[in-house]
């Protein structure tokens, strides 16, 4: 970013002062636009999975502007604080939750070297900053002065804190393969063909991807781990007493952290910004000008940013798909899943990948990767083919009402 500003012609001092401001503005803008898109996408996905259409009225046939309408409604709602609430803590909760989610984006690289701050420990930094989100939940739950909020907040905090442990252990698995905690470096190790992705590197990283994704879904409080929003049990958990803009802060925090954990999963397992079919694009298009600034690399990196965003959005879509498909777990099932299943599984994966790194010879490793990647590609293509080619059928005549209707329509 500093190089780009200098190339435009700004003096170095102004370029260096302006660059972090521009980076933060871009990140904030991206997170907010992403949240708006996700809210619309969630309602459409929910609708389609439940065999209905979702929003179709506001903004044309697809309801594009529904989120804007929701936002306007939330802004003009009455700002209500219950009489029993602790005013300072009630107001503080949403901001801490949002800062905890958003602060992680500082270290998230969108393309080679394109992070607000390239840290050598970026994945550790992201996990550490996202762990402070729990405190916003606790303050919200306690400060609301309502027993539903307190129970929901406590359960939610216990869930989030517990799932951080297997999540961190699963993150360690590709870190061991790469030898660095720098997300930029890890993604650069996966450039080239998609068989270089750590997802296919060995069976243990493959397992680590699914385990990480489950833990990430739980730590974002998404279904099937969404006791915070369990209307049937707790009214609305820790955000029962929140309405209007304060409530929307919690949901922006949730969508921001969904994108952040999906971004980490993409960078660690799915090759990050690499297309998987071409060599590193910033090198392919490299075209340094006389002033030394590489405009081809800029173009390549812009394509990489788009690829990264699409991959992360795909993972967020999977989270939404799972939400509207699976039923909700009870709190004891949630804790049992974490402590009795996911934690031992992730420890076994950690041990396995360490042994793999030490014992397996390089030639065998390359074969394993290529065969694994080819097998997964074939499965994906076959699944896609079956989905597309299976004809959608009308209800069968074995159901009497439909049989009568079919006979009548003939």
């Amino acid at each position: 970013m500093v190089d780009l500003l200098k190339w435009i012609g700004l003096p170095p001092f102004i370029a260096e002062a302006l660059s972090p401001i521009i980076q933060v503005a871009l990140l904030v803008g991206f997170v907010l636009v992403s949240a708006i898109y996700f809210i619309w996408l969630e309602r459409k996905v929910a609708g389609r999975i439940q065999d209905r259409l979702g929003p179709t009225r506001v903004g044309g046939k697809f309801g594009w502007l529904q989120t804007i309408a929701d936002g306007i409604k939330l802004l003009v709602k009455e700002d209500l604080i219950p009489a029993d609430a602790d005013h300072m803590l009630f107001r503080l909760g949403p901001y801490i939750a949002f800062c905890g989610s958003f602060g992680a984006f500082i270290a998230l690289p969108f393309a080679d070297g394109w992070a607000a701050r390239v840290l050598s420990i970026s994945v550790f930094f992201m996990l550490a900053v996202m762990s402070s989100e729990v405190f916003g939940i606790i303050l919200a739950g306690y400060g609301s002065g309502s027993k539903w909020a307190l129970f929901g907040g406590m359960r939610e905090a216990a869930q989030m804190v517990s799932y951080e442990v297997p999540m961190a252990v699963c993150v360690l698995v590709p870190v061991i393969v790469a030898g660095s905690m720098d997300l930029n470096y890890i993604a650069n190790q996966q450039n080239g063909g998609f068989w270089n992705w750590y997802l296919f590197h060995d069976p243990f990283t493959f397992g680590a991807f699914w385990t990480y994704f489950t833990c990430a879904t739980a730590s974002c409080k998404r279904a099937p781990f969404d006791l915070a929003e369990a209307e049937s049990e707790l009214v609305a958990g820790f955000h029962t007493e929140y309405s209007g803009l304060r409530w929307s802060f919690f949901f922006m925090a949730e969508y921001a952290s969904m994108f952040a954990v999906s971004g980490i999963a993409t960078l660690l397992f799915l090759g990050g910004w690499n297309t998987g079919l071409t060599p590193a694009l910033s090198h392919v298009f490299s075209h340094p000008l006389e002033s030394g600034f590489d405009i081809g690399a800029l173009f390549g990196n812009l394509i990489n940013v788009a690829v990264f965003i699409v991959k992360s959005w795909l993972l967020v879509f999977v989270m939404m798909w799972v939400r509207w498909t699976l039923p909700r777990l009870r709190i004891d099932q949630v804790m049992m899943t974490c402590l009795k299943y996911l934690l031992p599984i992730s420890c076994v994966l950690l041990l396995g990948v360490s042994v793999w790194q030490v014992l397996v010879p390089t030639a065998l490793e390359v074969w394993v990767r290529v065969i694994f990647a080819a097998a997964c590609l074939l499965i994906v293509l076959w699944t896609g083919f079956k989905i597309v080619s299976t004809p959608s059928m009308l209800p069968t005549p074995s159901v009497p009402a439909f049989a009568a209707a079919a006979k009548r329509d003939q």
């Binding site: 550790f124 930094f125 762990s131 402070s132 405190f135 400060g143 905090a157 804190v161 905690m181």
Partner: protein, 220 residues
């Protein structure tokens, strides 16, 4: 005043005022909230000094672990007398005295380190692989032990304020050969971890739910 100094003043003010808030506030859960800002401010100072790993560990362990534990304990056990802490004047006086004495001790210990370490070279800041240095220190790899730490026990104690940075591979200082020892922090680190585990188990045992004999006898 450059950006680093300005940011330091901001973070120090945040940490200091939050720490004052912890002491002054009368609601115990609000004290925990102020403590959150004090710990986050400390993590910010670590990041400002370029110690990314230590700052992230501070956030993960203190804010995400210790503070959550404290708040759970405080919130779920806060009975009537503890929600509003009312402190008498004598307690204020004693606390102020102890605080001043502690501040004096810390100031005297820190003052001689007169050379501030500022990372003015941006690339050096970016390449600071703090986790690698910490790992090497834990394992006692020779290059990682700074020369002023690796000393023979018969060497004279250094004068306060004489901490100059010399090349750490120098084997002789002032013409005298200095035998180098390796400091491995791994064993003390593990001992402290086991100690913490013992403390946790002890606390859990002490806080276990005790069966109340009288209720059982009344029922039968």
């Amino acid at each position: 005043m450059d950006l680093t100094t300005f940011l330091f003043y901001v973070l120090a003010a945040l940490t200091g005022f939050s720490a004052i808030g912890v002491v002054v506030t009368q609601n115990i859960v609000r004290a925990a909230a102020w403590l959150l800002f004090a710990l986050a401010g400390t993590a910010g100072i670590f990041f400002l000094l370029g110690a990314d790993f230590v700052g992230a560990t501070q956030l993960l362990v203190y804010v995400g672990g210790t503070l959550v534990l404290v708040v759970f304990g405080v919130m779920l056990t806060a009975q009537g007398p503890f929600i509003n802490l009312r402190i008498s004047a004598i307690e204020w006086a004693v606390a102020a005295g102890v605080g001043l004495v502690l501040f004096g001790v810390l100031a005297v210990a820190v003052w001689p380190a007169t050379t501030p370490v500022y990372w003015t070279d941006k690339d050096a800041h970016r390449d600071l692989a703090s986790s690698a240095i910490l790992g090497e220190s834990l394992l006692g790899i020779e290059k990682a032990t700074p020369w002023w730490r690796a000393r023979h026990y018969s060497d004279p104690a250094p004068r306060p304020g004489s901490r100059e940075r010399k090349d750490i591979t120098a084997l002789s200082v002032n013409g005298i050969d200095r035998p180098r020892t390796r400091v491995a922090y791994l064993l003390p680190f593990e001992i402290v971890s086991v100690h913490l585990l013992v403390v946790l188990i002890g606390a859990a045992y002490l806080a276990r739910a005790k069966r109340r004999r009288t209720d059982v006898e009344q029922l039968s």
